[in-house]
Amino acid sequence: MPILSRADTSVVGRWWWSIDRVMLTALILLVGIGYVLALAATPATNIALSDPRTMVMIKQIVYLAVGAFVMIATSMLDLKQVKLAALGIGIIFLILTAFTLVHGVVIDGGRRWIALPGFTIQPSEFLKPALIIATAWLLAERRRTPGFPGMMAALGLNGLVLLMLLRQPDVGSTALVASTFLVQLFLDGLNVYWVGIAVAGFGAAGFAAFEFIAHVHMRVMLFLHPTKDKAYQAITALSAFGNGGLWGRGPGEGQVKHYLPDARADFVFAVAGEEFGLIVCLGIILIFAVIVLRGLARILRETDLFVALAASGLLVSFGLQAFINMASSLSLIPTKGMTLPFISYGGSAVLAVGLHMGFLLALTRKRNHAERAAERGAGATMQDRVA
């Protein structure tokens, strides 16, 4: 670990002394676990570059490295740069997400992907953190600048994104984005009455999805009435945990993983359970909990509304996504295709979550008074106390 002087005023020096190092450590740990599981979830095979399975594994390791790099680079941004970056990324990926509706690659019945040479990306993954930051900005700006139609803009923006996600269709992302937005509104001080209406609306939307979207209906019915034939994936995932037990069967010794569908992505937690056991899985849950709870607790001390809203939105989105993935593997909720951040397979997802948590780290950095004042922009003239 480089010894950096507190007096070091370079970008790296200031970054090192202002970053939330506990959260950074937790995130790097997750990347490490993701690396180990990239090996574990890959079918046993010889290391041979001619073997596509080896290539898949190596690609994932490269993505993890790039994702970690993106995260650290992003975390070095200051607030203004965060906003600008989010704005830029948000605009680009909003357009790309819209583009998927026209010219997307269909995978597993969802038109969510854009094919690039040697790489497919899911633009909505990158849109998510940008949307959260933009929403926070709009909501905070509303308070700062009377008459700024922040709420309407936030509603409009989120509504547009949700509509596009539903059209793909990507019910999971829709629910996640909607939940995150709802939490942001709630934290922003939305009237409890409206919160009740929003939750009710959320429930109604869920029921509508169950009623009118065939595969959602099927998944929920399978969750409620699992049978060995139909709920094969869920029961197989559970048997992976059962097979692993307390200490797991050992790295590479997984048996269920060979026939567990989607073991590398949506059910990677089951693979971890089989090979590394309950203790390691509890550790993974603990890391996610530390990241989310510590992050939220720190927001309690935050004086900047934008930062508080953005950081809490990013944390909630991250925490919920992890929960949904793990809860699906554990049959706590109907199976829902959602990746486990940093751990599931997928280049696009790893880069996006790197960006996501990079924003979070940037937002939760300690800022001194001058910075804070500067970050309030025009508020330089505004002083808490005037002698």
Binding site: R144, L238, V292, L305, F323, L330, M382
Partner: protein, 696 residues
């Protein structure tokens, strides 16, 4: 937050105490009596709203904290539940399907096993490999040949190199019998252009035991000798069903060992040992020496491959007197109490027939067998004449091939009818001038001892017991058994060394001259044999050992005194065989009263008198009615003008007796009860074998 917060982090106050938001007081000033001082603190409305919102956010954040704590707690609880408290067991079948297959199923063999009668495997096909090469792909034939020869020493590097250098071909076999170890070693050499072919190997786990019976297969797994050839179609048509032979591999081993012992003791050039069931004609053991390891058929020398038991024709010598005497007694023209002139040698043309130990007496039939009198046998054969003799021999299988399941079986050698006159009749009577395989001889002795039932010799143990054919009267057979027993028990008998305590062995020696390359008998060379059956009360097995061209070796000289006759060379081997296989076959030696009464039932006087009311041949009454003209010629008398054709024809009819029996219990019991009486039933109970061997 217990510490005093930094002013910037203080929750924005919305002072209510004084009613106005700008009545802040100088911090630290006492409440009472302080000098009030108005401060102007400017906070914009949006800023204030922002601060208010932050306050709400912080309060509401608690829900977020609690909520996440809750859902992650549930997650952890559920994880513990499904991992260790109520673990779901993985689907064993699904896991098994993912595992690499370790039990690679071997293809079923293409050739059935061959077993002995107890199911012991004698021949089995196992998967193996053949090594071949494509010479066009071989870079350096010399180097490759050296490498392969280093791993398979049996291959000659020069031969290998010449094969590998044959660039006109693209397929040459290098070794068609690789062991698994050799296959691995060659594979590890990693020579391009050298390949393996999955083939089958025929293995013969018993090595040289029964090698001649089993025969062998070609590298293509086609039977080329023995039962492998004879049953080739059966073995390949139904590979799942083993071919069960009548051989008992334990008995086979004993017979081979004892025969080999006799052969080496007397430095013979070859030997045969056969044990055949007297009740079914099935061969229990058959060993031809010298032999070879069954798997090495291709490389064994021709002399070793030669199956002397079925392919070699040997003059039987005096053993053949059993044929002559059984024929004579069965014909009714001769009775055991008849006496014949053995007072002087017989001269016919330039030949002289003498006895080994001339007695110069008129000898009765049991005595003739006991001392093996050639003169006596000649007299008897000439009385019956060549017609009856030929009919008898033909009936018992001497004029053809032995009907055994071996392709190597060869026909006997005998004189044509036109040549079969006085001299041939005489010499054949004591086993010269006719040659047959040992198996033919032993299968003709079976009816002589078993009560008169002929069985085709057989190696096949499958199916019902073979049907017998009555070829002679039970009464004649009984007399033959008594006389054979006498050969062994008589103090001067030739077969005294065949005695086995308690087994009631009876038999006959044979010491045949050897026909040399020029068709002449060779001086000082003979084949020594002994034909035995046991127990003579109701024979179970017939045993025959012949040692070819034995020599009186230094080692055996104290025992044989220079003689290489059947009584010295072969009889001890037969005795050893019987003593060793008897208990194995469930035949226990008898002793005490049982032995004495059985022996009493088998005794026959060497110098019998005719029963009351019957006349005996003898001095002054030399020829029975119907005697052939050769008897008169031999006696130097003029034959009567008219031979008694009726008596001759009646004797011929009895000689040609051929009454097939149903394959019923009658066949098995035929030789027993009516012949011996009480002693037999006693014995039958004693000897019931523990095996299920049909008829055994």
């Amino acid at each position: 937050m217990t510490k005093a917060p930094h002013p910037d982090q203080m929750p924005p106050h919305v002072p209510r105490r004084s009613g106005a938001w700008n009545t802040a007081r100088n911090p630290g000033a006492p409440e009472q009596g302080a000098t009030p001082r108005v401060e102007h603190v400017r906070i914009t409305t949006p800023d204030l709203a922002r601060r208010a919102a932050l306050g709400v956010l912080q309060k509401r954040m608690v829900f977020g904290l609690v909520g996440f704590l809750l859902i992650y707690g549930i997650l952890a609880g559920r994880l513990i539940d499904v991992s260790v408290i109520n673990p779901t067991r993985p689907d064993a079948a699904a896991i098994a399907a993912e595992l690499p297959r370790t039990n690679i199923l071997l293809p079923p063999p293409a050739r059935a096993e061959i077993t002995d009668r107890n199911g012991v495997i004698l021949a089995v096909s196992l998967p193996g490999a053949a090594l071949y090469a494509n010479p066009k792909q071989i870079g350096d034939p010399g180097e490759v040949a050296r490498q392969i020869a280093a791993v398979i020493p049996a291959l000659d590097p020069g031969w290998l190199e010449s094969r590998l250098a044959d660039r006109k071909r693209d397929f040459v076999y290098l070794d068609r019998g690789l062991t698994a170890e050799q296959e691995l070693a060659v594979n590890q050499l990693g020579i391009p252009g050298v390949y393996f072919e999955d083939i089958e190997h025929r293995h013969y786990p018993e090595g040289d035991l029964a090698a001649h019976i089993l025969g062998g297969v070609t590298p293509d797994q086609r039977g080329i000798a023995g039962v492998e050839q004879y049953f080739n179609k059966t073995l390949t048509a139904d590979p799942a069903t083993p071919l069960r032979l009548s051989i008992d591999i334990g008995a086979e081993g004993i017979v081979r060992q004892e025969t080999l012992q006799a052969m080496t003791d007397y430095d013979g050039i070859g030997a045969c040992g056969i044990v055949i069931s007297a009740r079914t004609g099935r061969v229990l053991a058959m060993a031809s020496l010298p032999d070879y390891s069954a798997g090495d058929l291709g490389s064994a020398p021709a002399n070793d491959r030669f199956n002397r038991c079925v392919s070699g024709d040997y003059e039987p010598g005096s053993v053949f007197k059993l044929m002559t005497l059984s024929m004579a007694i069965n014909s009714g023209m001769i009775h055991y109490w008849d006496r014949f002139d053995t007072t002087h040698p017989l001269h016919v043309g330039r030949f002289t027939v003498t006895d080994f130990e001339p007695a110069h007496i008129w000898m009765a039939v049991p005595h003739i067998l006991e001392v093996s009198s050639n003169i006596g046998a000649s007299r008897i054969a000439t009385i019956l004449g060549p017609d009856i003799q030929r009919a008898w021999l033909k009936k018992l299988g001497f004029f053809g091939k032995p009907p055994i399941q071996l392709p190597e079986a060869q026909p006997a050698m005998y004189h044509p009818k036109s040549n079969w006159k006085l001299l041939t009749t005489m010499t054949v009577s004591f086993g010269n001038g006719i040659a047959m395989s040992p198996l033919q001889l032993i299968s003709a002795v079976v009816p002589v001892v078993n009560g008169g039932i002929y069985y085709k010799p057989s190696l096949d143990d499958a199916g019902p017991p073979p049907a017998g054919v009555r070829v002679m009267s039970a009464k004649a057979s009984l007399i033959m058994r008594k006389m054979m027993r006498n050969v062994v028990v008589a103090p001067n008998g030739t077969g005294v060394y065949a005695r086995v305590p308690g087994y009631l062995v009876g038999g006959k020696t044979g010491t045949a001259q050897v026909v040399g390359p020029g068709g002449r008998y060779m001086k000082h060379l003979n084949n020594a044999s002994f034909m035995a059956a046991f127990p003579m009360t109701n024979p179970r097995y017939v045993v025959y050992v012949v040692v070819l061209q034995p020599h009186a070796t230094k080692k055996m000289m104290p025992f044989c005194h220079g003689f290489t006759t059947g009584g010295y060379v072969a009889a001890p081997a037969v005795a050893n065989i019987i003593a060793r296989i008897g208990p194995m076959l469930g035949i226990m030696p008898r002793s005490g009263d049982a032995l004495a009464s059985a022996q009493a039932a088998l005794s026959i006087p060497v110098d019998p008198t005719a029963p009351p009311g019957r006349s005996a041949l003898g001095p002054g009454h030399m020829f029975p009615p119907g005697a052939s003209k050769y008897a008169y010629m031999l006696a130097g008398e003029k034959p009567p003008a008219a031979i008694d054709e009726a008596a001759h024809d009646a004797a011929l009819a009895r000689t040609e007796m051929w009454q097939p029996l149903g394959a019923t219990a009658e066949t098995i019991s035929a030789p027993s009860a009516p012949i011996i009486g009480g002693a037999v039933s006693h014995q039958t109970m004693n000897v019931t074998p523990p095996f299920t061997h049909a008829g055994g």
